[in-house]
């Protein structure tokens, strides 16, 4: 038996050393040629952004012959999951994209993210170009951990032609909004307002804005914090009732389609109103829809929140704590005015670098959106990034079942309160 064990251990050891030595060789090979490899991870495997970043990587590698950039990308939800797994071990990519607020905060809590204050302070010319207000979502304990790049906001997009035909005005209040929806329905639109509720995040965007309008900001500030959250304010029930009322205008379809399908329905003129991000303006334009405008979520009568705030948050870049200094150079390159200008020109999405958005690289509609974002009285982060994910999940799933009339706002809030209590422990 001893002999057996000895052989077993030897084989195991051999196998292990074989694995590790091969990995070691690779490292050696790269250092022989004095090439620094940077792992770059982003969440845009789709066009036009994939090609844009591939092109930028090529440019950077040409300008810096000693650097090789390995790029990897996966879409949205998979990105969220993958980055969580990566951050739990030392395989975190050197530079990667991140959402702001709680998403970034969670990553930062791993202790594996680089603090950027010194880097930003050292190169004030570059750092000063980034719109200061957009750093908020990446700042935790007064330290900056990310550089914002894209800016975004959410608003109702409406089909101007449909509004004109039915003599409709852009609604200023929630009551007016409902009246507009009723009129559109009477005019023959099956779904005057469209949304793909299979995407949980789309629901969370609605809820975040509605709560922001209805509930006192002091209350949400307290509730959105895991340590103090209670969710006992009656405003939440009112908010869910409002959400339910809106889903009634979305037709039977809404629970079976995704947001992309909803966007297509708007772009094809089938649905006259949709709640979308400014990041989507170009997608709608590319599909041939040109005559549309937007309005912020209307003021809700009797609401205690800020009726002028805009829901939206930037996305940005983060660095791993162990990233080489070349990754910092790459970060500066990605957020330079030149790259940012090209980016908005190619992709259509607005960016957080000053001077990189003007009429030369964007459409009038997007420029209007850009001013809305940069001039908003305040920005509210996406709801699923503002509250604990367990709470957000109850609201999002609850939103789906609410649309199906399988539950009531009261039941959802009971669940939320129980979860808030559990999380506080």
């Amino acid at each position: 038996m001893k002999r057996f064990l000895a052989i077993f251990m030897t084989v195991l050891l051999l196998a292990l050393t074989a694995c590790s030595s091969s990995a070691g060789n690779e490292e050696k090979k790269s250092s022989d040629k004095d090439v620094v490899e940077i792992n770059f991870f982003h969440r845009w495997p789709n066009e036009p952004r994939k090609s844009f970043y591939d092109q930028k990587i090529k440019e950077f590698e040409e300008a810096n012959p000693g650097v090789k950039i390995n790029v990897n990308s996966v879409l949205n939800d998979s990105y969220k999951e993958k980055i969580r797994v990566l951050v739990s071990n030392d395989d975190l990519p050197d530079i990667f994209s991140s959402w702001s607020d709680s998403f970034a905060e969670n990553l930062v809590s791993s202790g594996r993210i680089m603090e950027l204050d010194n880097i930003l302070a050292e190169d004030s010319e570059w750092a000063g170009k980034v719109i200061e207000s957009q750093f908020a979502g990446f700042t935790f304990d007064e330290k900056k951990y990310g550089v914002p790049f894209t800016v975004d906001g959410k608003a109702f997009f409406y089909n101007k032609e449909a509004f004109k035909k039915n003599n409709l005005e852009v609604p200023k209040t929630y009551k007016e909004f409902i009246a507009v929806l009723d009129k559109l329905q009477d005019a023959g639109y099956e779904t005057p307002l469209v949304e793909g509720l299979t995407n949980a995040w789309a629901i969370s965007h609605y809820m975040g804005t509605i709560f922001q309008r209805v509930v006192d900001p002091a209350v949400t500030a307290k509730d959105y914090n895991v340590e103090t959250g209670e969710f006992t304010d009656p405003g939440y029930i009112k908010g869910l009732e409002i959400f339910k009322e809106l889903t009634d205008y979305m037709g039977d379809l809404s629970t079976a389609i995704d947001h992309e399908a909803a966007r297509n329905m708007f772009a094809s003129g089938e649905a006259p109103i949709v709640y979308m991000q400014f990041a989507e303006v170009k997608m709608v334009e590319d599909q041939g829809m040109k005559d549309f405008g937007f309005f912020d979520f209307p003021e809700i009568e009797g609401g205690k929140g800020d009726s002028k705030a805009l829901t939206g948050a930037p996305e940005g870049w983060m660095l791993s704590k162990n990233a080489p200094k070349e990754a910092v150079d790459f970060l500066k390159f990605l957020t330079s005015e030149e790259t940012a200008y090209d980016f908005t020109k190619t992709d259509g999405q607005l960016n957080a670098v000053q001077g990189a958005v003007d009429e030369g690289n964007t459409s009038p509609a997007r420029l209007e959106a850009y001013e809305l974002v940069t001039n908003a009285s305040a920005t509210t982060p996406w709801f699923d990034n503002a509250v604990n994910i367990n709470i957000a999940d109850i609201f999002m799933r609850g939103g789906q079942t609410l649309a199906n009339e399988q539950t009531t706002p009261g039941d959802i809030m009971k669940e939320v309160q129980a979860e808030a209590k559990r999380l506080k422990k």
Binding site: F4, S109, D393
Partner: protein
Amino acid sequence: MQRRKFNIIPVLFLLPSIALLLVFVYIPLIQNFYNSFFDFSVFSQTKTFVGLENFKNLLADKVVSVALLNNVKYAIISVILQVGIALVLAYILEDKLFHRVAPFLRVVYFMPVMISISVVALLFGFVYNPQMGLLNSFLELIGLENLKEVWLGNPETAIYSVIAMSQWHSIGFVTLLFIVAIQKIPKELYEAADIDGAGKIRKFFSITVPQVREAIFVNTLITITGSMLVFNEPYILTNGGPGFSSTVMSVHMYQTGFVKDNMGYASTLAIIIFLLTAVLALIQIKLSRTGKDD
């Protein structure tokens, strides 16, 4: 009698697979048991010991009962269709009447098995599309408009739509296993039955079914454990929604761990899935006394 000397050679041959099994199956399994007593997040490097807290949460978790029920629905429907219908299908395909078209039909039934489940799920996403999907268009075509449904968006139909897709995907595989088993039955049995004047149905129940008992057992086992472990289909097609209506245990576990970041509780859910499949396998082995002759 001389004691046989311990021979090292066969053990050496087994070593690689033992090592791999240990590293990828048994050690993670033990780790998972260990993890279920802790509360921890992928982001933090510290674990808090919570004892049986996670198991207590399990009893209060409403999603677990929904998910378990969905797994049971999955199992029942899959056994009826994949084992029951597949056996009948295999019997028909092996019938003399179908000798000419059997190879073609076999390919038709087996084709879906070859397609990756992710692709199948995306495909069925289109089939179930309420607006322009194949299913609703078909219902309209044959004049059954009132049966049109928001298949994946309605909590009543979501899970059944997912299950239906799985059946389409896997029935060919089970059929194929049955065909192999039926081909092994000695022809003399059927010839003797023919002489006795037995009909096709009588032959099916008196010869085919008892002769392929072993295959029925294996297929039932595969199907039931498969239904307990099912993940891809509901995850890709509905993500467990709307609400939790089409959530199954493994989707719940995955979301708890990787979306909601409760790793400890996810480990507890994994234990439940493990125990369920283990118990089922034991019951099956016990009941069918496989491997032993009567």
